[in-house]
């Protein structure tokens, strides 16, 4: 709870900075503030408390995921320093929106009431719509914002419909009450229908097949930093929320529901990977790769009671490598009007450090040891085989092989092509973010127990 209040306070503070004309200091102070909030969250780690008639429930699950979100936001805010260089007049708006987005994200993993959950998802989504369209003069950005808004509001509507049906069936918005009632033998048909609708809405947010159509266009059109946010923070938030929704409301997901999850998971990884193979725009490629990673993360829904730790680990590994990759993309594609692979030609020669970081990030996503991505897949496979879905794991393995194809396309472009032009300047913050993110990723790979045991 304190986390949430502190984050919102920080967001308001960011807006005030504008008034007092302190734009230069906004990024460092926000980062310090977020570090403080992170400390606060960690200090509350072991407490389980509920606030305001169960509106907010702080648990281990919520505080670990909140910490992850805060860390990701710190990276994203830091990257903003360089990215919004030419938009100084609006920088406090952008930063404040990101902080509010974080507040929505935290609310989404610590809700105890479906109303609070909906509030959280709307705060997050509206912030994302604005950020997607934030490059006002750019037609593509406007298109992306519009598309995302239209599709997103449909999803919100479906979620709301689902919540209403659940209320109709159970007579309550409180998840503990719903969970107790759902144990009874006679369940009104509205309840499973409501759950299905909720799931559909959330699958839209995580961009799982067949609800992924918005992702490539929106990722491509949005400003690169917003894309980074969507593909790391927003995806992870949505996945954690879906996991929490299903695990707190009906402890035992039915068999037929699991079959659907298996199919969606298989379809997401396969389609995402196959489409990614054909992309020349790096943002689009990462959008499709994100679809396939969503498919991997959906595997955690098959063993709801035990897989919180592996979801957290996968989410951390995936989002940290995403941050590292996007900080390199931000550097390479600054002042370019597209993000085609061509821009990456010869990066291995002109900037070996960033090329090595991007390579590591992609290797982590492809699941090569010793990066965290490998262990993330390993624990996931382990859990899924334990739950009895060997076929799904084999599909996932085949997909890991396919994914190497397009990740390596980018790596090859960096090392075997001749550089087309020199890039000037060494933005320290981008370097710092990229290095820290990839070091954290490798550290998680060397000590997986650190995260895996948190939610064991």
């Amino acid at each position: 709870m304190n986390t949430l209040i502190a984050i919102i306070g920080l967001g308001v503070l960011c807006l005030l900075f504008e008034i007092f004309n302190l734009r230069k200091a906004i990024v460092p102070i926000t980062i310090l503030g977020l570090l403080g909030v992170l400390g606060l969250t960690i200090s509350e780690f072991n407490s389980t408390e509920s606030y305001y008639n169960n509106m907010i429930v702080v648990s281990k699950f919520s505080s670990t995921f909140s910490s992850l979100f805060i860390v990701l936001t710190i990276f994203l805010v830091a990257l903003g320093h360089n990215f919004y260089e030419n938009h100084q007049s609006k920088i406090s708006d952008y930063i404040a929106i990101k902080i509010f987005l974080l507040a929505g994200a935290v609310a989404m993993v610590s809700f105890g009431n479906l109303a609070m959950f909906f509030l959280g998802i709307e705060v997050l989504s509206i912030a994302l719509y604005i950020l997607a369209a934030s490059d006002r003069m750019n037609l593509k950005s406007n298109e992306a914002g519009m598309k995302y808004f239209l599709m997103g509001s449909f999803a919100s509507g479906i979620i709301l419909f689902g919540i209403c049906l659940i209320y109709g069936a159970m007579g309550s918005f409180d998840v503990t009450e719903i969970s107790e009632l759902s144990q009874s033998a006679e369940l009104p048909i509205w309840f499973p229908i409501g759950i299905v609708l909720l799931t559909i809405g959330m699958l839209f947010k995580v961009a799982a097949v067949p609800f992924h159509f918005w992702a490539p266009d929106v990722y491509e059109g949005s400003p690169a930093l917003t894309t980074a946010l969507m593909s790391t923070l927003a995806k992870v938030v949505a996945m954690a929320t879906l996991y929490k929704l299903l695990s707190v409301m009906n402890a035992d997901v039915s068999e037929s529901f699991k079959v659907v999850v298996v199919i969606i998971s298989m379809a997401s990884m396969t389609l995402g990977n196959i489409m990614a193979l054909r992309q020349t725009n790096v943002k689009r490629m990462l959008a499709f790769s994100g679809v396939s990673h969503a498919g991997f993360m959906l595997m955690t829904l098959l063993s709801l009671s035990t897989s919180a730790g592996s979801l957290l680990y996968y989410a951390s590994a995936y989002s940290l490598s995403g941050i590292a990759a996007f900080s390199v993309i931000l550097y390479v594609c600054k002042n370019r009007d597209n993000e085609d692979v061509v821009n990456f030609h010869g990066l291995g020669k002109t900037n070996p450090l960033l090329a090595a970081i991007l390579t590591s990030a992609l290797l982590s996503m492809a699941g090569i040891p010793i990066f965290a991505g490998f262990f993330a897949k390993l624990v996931l496979f382990n859990q899924t085989i334990q739950a009895g879905y060997l076929a799904l794991v084999i599909v996932a393995v085949v997909n890991s092989i396919i994914s190497v194809g397009y990740y390596f396309k980018l790596i090859l472009a960096m090392y075997t092509k001749e550089p087309n032009e020199e890039r000037k300047g060494t933005p320290v913050i981008i370097y710092a973010v990229a290095v820290i993110a990839i070091v954290l990723n490798i550290a998680l790979g060397l000590y997986p127990s650190f995260i895996l045991d948190l939610l064991a």
């Binding site: 624990v379 085989i385 075997t416 895996l452």
Partner: protein, 480 residues
């Protein structure tokens, strides 16, 4: 003192080489390579005195994974092959200039680190990690410092990477499956598993895919010749000298003892695949015009025979296979080095453009001849002992296997001597061929020395490996 020391030396060496800068890189790398070789000889001494040099430590609690390095005779023999060949390979590159050489030499040491880890690891996951890790440096070595057209090279190297990765991922699934049964991936816990024949078959096949691609066995060999040709000679030496031995070693260490029922049931098929590789490799080698490609196919033939030896599941077969692995490691590094020496002078690998080197450079010619004869298993060379033992074990299973496998010697002698004749003899070449430099001479003499020494006195290696092979055989022959 325990075996983790070697890994530390090699890893630190990789970083030190990278930090040393382009000028010093090769010397620093050589220093650390020699240090690792020295340390492994010291460790071998400790091991022979009966000390415990294994290392085990809990790494991940959930899932239960240990950082376990176990050194027995087999591992020590393979470790020595790795750590002795690494400095030789580094030293062999001293005549060449590489762009960005700090990364180049750091990658070589890093690869040696990963391969040493593969030979030592006794926890399934740790083993898998080292196994995969060794793939990354060779990928970059072949990609960045290779020769020939960039596009062709890219295709060959990416094919190699995806192929090997694909194979090993199925091995990972097999490991995860066994983890569910055993609750741990330590080798001794996996040995205790009682798997049904059906489970063993699937596990055997998953492992087989990984190893058959790495070794490579027919029909998974298609990546090999192209990558050998495109990679820089150092990369080719690492690949053929050490890396493919990882696959053969893993067959003995992991595949056979974990799935013995399947190995026994389908023994003829797998021996057959190995023999098919022998014949196919030899016949294709006959037709090669490129020296490196010829050596690549001859290597395919030799490893096919080694693999056939391991799948006989007899002590002779396994022992012969291990001996031949070591012998082949040295001889193939020597041969590729000889090809490199010719390339340095003539800038070509086409056999047709060579010839008449003997009159200009008698020293090099005699050393090359010795290597050629060693590779066709001339008695008194190390290869003879290995190849002979393997053929003997094959004849115990079925005499036809031995006869067909023996073609590797006959056909091998034919294509190797034909190549030698075309490349070294004949009329004096108009192009000047300077005789070997001191560095080149030292490298070749060391390799030849090793081949002759163990050819006449293989007892130290046989004594080292036999107890651990017997242990593995009891595991294979246990009653399920």
């Amino acid at each position: 003192m325990n075996v983790s020391l070697i890994l530390i030396i090699l890893l630190v060496g990789a970083f030190a080489t990278f930090l040393a800068g382009d000028k010093l890189a090769s010397k620093v790398a050589l220093f650390f390579g020699l240090a690792a070789a020295g340390a492994s000889i010291v460790l071998l001494n400790h091991y022979n005195l009966g000390e415990n040099i294994s290392f085990i430590n809990q790494w991940i609690t959930q899932p239960n994974i240990s950082f376990a390095l176990k050194a027995d005779g087999l591992s020590m023999a393979m470790l020595l092959l790795n750590t002795v060949l690494t400095p030789i390979i580094i030293f062999s590159s001293f005549g060449n200039d590489y762009k960005n050489s700090k990364s180049f030499y750091a990658l070589i040491l890093f690869m040696s680190f990963a391969m040493a880890g593969t030979f030592l690891a006794s926890d399934g996951l740790l083993y898998y990690i080292f196994w995969e890790l060794s793939l990354i440096p060779i990928y970059f070595i072949a990609l960045i410092w290779g020769n020939g057209d960039t596009e062709d090279r890219k295709k060959a190297v990416v094919k190699f990477f995806i192929y090997t990765l694909a194979g090993s991922l199925f091995m990972l699934v097999a490991f995860v499956y066994m983890y569910q049964k055993a609750g741990s991936l330590l080798l001794e816990d996996l040995y205790k598993l009682n798997l049904t024949a059906n489970e063993q078959l699937w596990i055997f096949l998953a492992f087989f895919l990984a190893y058959a691609i790495k070794i490579p066995l027919i029909p998974f060999h298609t990546w090999q010749a192209n990558v050998y040709q495109k990679a820089p000679t150092v990369g080719t030496m690492l690949l053929s000298g050490i890396m493919l031995k990882m696959g053969l070693y893993s067959v003995i260490r992991w595949q056979l003892p974990l799935a013995p029922l399947a190995a026994k049931e389908y023994m003829y098929i797998f021996i057959g695949l190995g023999i098919a590789g022998v014949i196919y490799g030899s016949i294709v080698a006959l037709k090669q015009k490129d020296l490196k490609k010829l050596l690549a196919y001859s290597s395919l033939a030799h490893v096919g025979l080694i693999a056939a030896g391991t799948y006989t599941l007899t002590l002779d077969g396994l022992r012969g296979a291990v001996l031949q692995m070591i012998a082949h490691g040295f001889v193939v590094v020597g041969l590729f080095y000889a090809a490199e020496i010719i390339f340095r002078r003539y800038e070509t690998r086409a056999i047709a453009e060579m010839g008449g080197i003997r009159t200009q450079s008698p020293k090099f010619t005699s050393m090359f001849l010795i290597l050629v004869l060693a590779s066709v298993a001339l008695p008194t060379t190390f290869n003879f002992i290995g190849e002979f033992t393997v053929l003997y074990s094959l004849s115990q299973i079925n005499i036809w296997f031995a006869i067909l496998g023996g073609t590797t010697i006959i056909l091998g002698a034919y294509y190797m001597l034909k190549m030698f004749q075309h490349a070294m003899l004949g009329e004096t070449n108009s192009k000047v061929f300077a005789d070997v430099t001191i560095n080149e001479g030292i490298t070749l003499v060391i390799i030849i020395g090793v081949l002759f020494f163990f050819g006449m006195y293989p007892k130290p290696i046989t004594d080292l490996i036999t107890p651990s092979l017997e242990e593995i055989l009891t595991q294979i022959n246990r009653i399920n």
